[in-house]
Symmetry: C2
């Protein structure tokens, strides 16, 4: 994983944060969500070094976020596709995109648009209350710590 034990913290934010907070991992996932699947394509679209790419792909595979699927080119090769677990990262990517558009909009305006397939509407990430449905910000939320069940 990394030099240190980023993820010793048993916490549902810290665990994914340690995984996704590795250099290239988020970028790699962005590519995946945009449809990239093959080694060569990742390498060109991101200009990442081959050895690191090999590493990151392997990591995502054994985290169960990507899976290798055989395909036949000239001989058998593998492509990398999202598992359910991986696909479920969609809200994270969308939240990232919303924030990026609002606060770090690329200077040259290059981007892509996302629309609801059915109605054509814009796509956005939001935080809401599962009960009353209200849209929430950090200020509307109360945090309660739930102590660990001692295991060791």
């Amino acid at each position: 994983m990394a030099h240190a034990k980023l993820a010793d913290l048993q916490c549902p934010i810290a665990l994914p944060a340690a995984l996704l907070g590795e250099r290239w991992t988020l970028l790699l996932l962005r590519q995946v969500f945009l449809g990239t699947r093959r080694f060569e394509d990742f390498q060109h679209s991101m200009d990442i070094s081959r050895s690191v790419l090999t590493d990151r792909l392997a990591e995502l595979v054994d985290e169960g976020i990507l899976r290798r699927v055989a395909y036949k080119d000239v001989r058998t090769r593998y492509e990398y596709r999202l598992t359910d677990k991986g696909r479920d990262l969609y809200p994270v990517m969308m939240a990232l995109r919303d924030w990026g558009s609002r606060w770090m909009a690329p200077e040259d305006g290059a981007s892509f648009d996302l629309h609801h397939h059915d109605c054509g509407g814009d796509v956005r990430a939001k935080v809401e209350c599962a009960d009353c449905g209200a849209e929430l910000t950090a200020r509307d939320v109360r945090v309660t710590h739930r102590p660990a069940v001692r295991l060791r």
Copy 2:
């Protein structure tokens, strides 16, 4: 920023991904959202090296995500607080948390609960259509590339 030019890609996902995808940055933000504000507290709660912590804090400050606010202890010190831009990362953190709870739940059950301050309901991140309000997954979304306005 990093060895390479992760963020050459002018893209509203790639830009934030390059920033947040640095070691410790996401963890640091998690702490901030949980209320940590001071150097010493970050250092202990995350077990990060002091030099890297200094770095990351400075980076977040000049990205405009955190700001230094003076306080008086024994002499004047600074704490690190979220700006509006920073606070607006809340959906990203919540999306991360949702995913973490679902797919990487800590073994010992340690965690924290989040509830809507007003009604006590659970908090969740979701992706929806801004027009029709439907909840969306990657499959419901169409991607359209919008080419760059040539600048150079």
